[in-house]
């Protein structure tokens, strides 16, 4: 269970939000909404422990995430608005590196399969610098297929740059994770229906 209490975010001397709190049970989707600059990304980074809140606390199963360290990071998948893929490595190499680091049981064959599922069968061996924006996003999203065991997914604009078919595919992957008792926190500016046993919305900004 993920609990946030009285979170406050200050960036560059300006307060973006204060007193933000929520409780997310397994199987809950939290959609974070708000205008540009309202602090959505900052909130997501706080949930990952990348950004320290100016006030408030974030608890994972009752323990502060700052004291949990690696145990918490093992439960977490974060997809930032940057794809975190290396231009000079192929899609396959990128996926193998990130999944080896995450301690997923990954083999080249399995990685190839999951890239194929996201429509990247023909370009798994190309350096990602020659791929389109949407294809790069798909490479980044392919990680999700290996992270069912992670109980918390934090996704910053997962659907950006994707075509409609890929959006449906990713929405289905997220729905399956929620159905399996995972927690998913995400932001999106697109109208995407994500099927969830429970869903909550959080609106940042005035």
């Amino acid at each position: 269970m993920l609990v946030a209490n009285g979170l406050e975010c200050v960036r560059g001397g300006r307060r973006l939000f204060r007193a933000v709190g929520f409780e997310l049970d397994p199987g809950t989707a939290l959609e974070v909404q708000g205008a540009n600059g309202s602090g959505k990304t900052s909130l997501l980074r706080m949930l990952c422990g990348l950004l320290a809140p100016a006030a408030g606390e974030i608890l994972w199963n009752g323990a502060d995430i700052r004291t949990l360290g690696e145990a918490y990071r093992g439960e977490l998948v974060y997809l930032g608005h940057q794809n975190a893929i290396k231009d000079d490595l192929s899609a396959l190499e990128n996926l193998l590196v990130s999944e080896t680091l995450a301690e997923s049981a990954v083999t080249p064959a399995a990685a190839r399969d999951s890239l194929a599922r996201l429509g990247l069968a023909g370009c798994a061996d190309l350096p990602t610098r020659v791929l389109s924006q949407g294809q790069k996003r798909r490479v980044a999203l392919a990680r999700l297929l290996f992270r069912e065991r992670c109980r918390l997914w934090v996704l910053d604009e997962p659907f950006v740059a994707l075509d409609q078919q890929a959006v449906r595919e990713i929405a289905a992957i997220i729905a399956a994770q929620l159905g399996g008792g995972g927690i998913v926190v995400y932001t999106t500016h697109q109208e995407v229906a994500v099927a969830a046993p429970r869903r909550t919305e959080l609106r940042l900004g005035r």
Binding site: G49, L51, G74, L76, N83, D88, T100, L101, E103
Partner: protein, 227 residues
């Protein structure tokens, strides 16, 4: 988590960074060329007086190696920072110091080790004697990893700042002084007929100290820079 997991993560980052360096060979070449050019400028500027060149050689080679490795520091974390992979490294379920250590090791293998191997060749141009050349290589072998380790802390601290390059050199060069003194000192001691043992021991001690502390300090600095 199995016992070999941290090792696998270390190997994974090391392999990735070496592979990236292999795909972008020009980055490595610029550091080497810089080293060669700086070293060859001195005989051109000072004139072809052999005894003078021989006296200057240890200092010149060491200062050039120091500047070259500092020049390469900017690339240590900048690429990963720009494309978001650094965030993923920080969020990986492993001690960040270990992963940073792997990055520093890869960085030294592609920028430090070639300097070490090239230095004796350049030393020949300064008419250095054989034992002095041997000591030069050994002192660089012990010293350049320390430069990389100390520099990593500076690179992590200045990550994402405007004018990071200049700030980095101001931050890191003073910390390089002990390595320079004992590194060049070892070669001068041999040239003067003394043993290099004491100097090399100090260099070794500095390396052990840096190996122990620098990756964790750099990891801490990275977390701050990412906020």
């Amino acid at each position: 988590m199995s016992a070999s997991a941290p090792l696998a993560a270390f190997a994974c980052v090391l392999r990735r960074d070496l592979l990236l360096a292999l795909r972008r060979r020009s980055d490595v070449a610029t550091t080497l060329f810089f080293f060669v050019i700086v070293v060859t400028l001195f005989p051109l500027g000072v004139g072809p007086e052999m005894s003078l060149l021989r006296t200057m050689a240890p200092g010149v080679l060491w200062v050039a190696a120091l500047l070259a490795s500092m020049l390469a520091l900017g690339r240590l974390f900048a690429g990963d920072y720009a494309d978001g992979t650094l965030e993923q490294l920080v969020l990986a379920p492993h001690p960040l110091g270990l992963l940073v250590g792997a990055k520093i090791a890869a960085h030294w293998l592609v920028t430090g080790l070639p300097l070490v191997l090239l230095a004796p060749l350049l030393g020949l141009a300064f008419d250095m004697r054989a034992e002095a050349l041997g000591t030069l290589t050994l002192s660089l072998l012990l010293g350049t990893p320390t430069l990389g380790l100390i520099g990593a802390i500076g690179a992590a601290l200045t990550l994402g700042l405007r004018g990071a390059g200049l700030l980095l050199s101001l931050l890191v060069l003073p910390l390089y002084i002990p390595v320079l003194i004992f590194g060049a000192g070892a070669v001068e001691a041999v040239a003067g007929g003394l043993g290099p043992g004491a100097h090399l021991s100090v260099l070794g001690a500095l390396l052990v100290l840096a190996l122990f502390f620098a990756p964790w300090a750099a990891a801490l600095a990275l977390r701050i820079s990412l906020e």
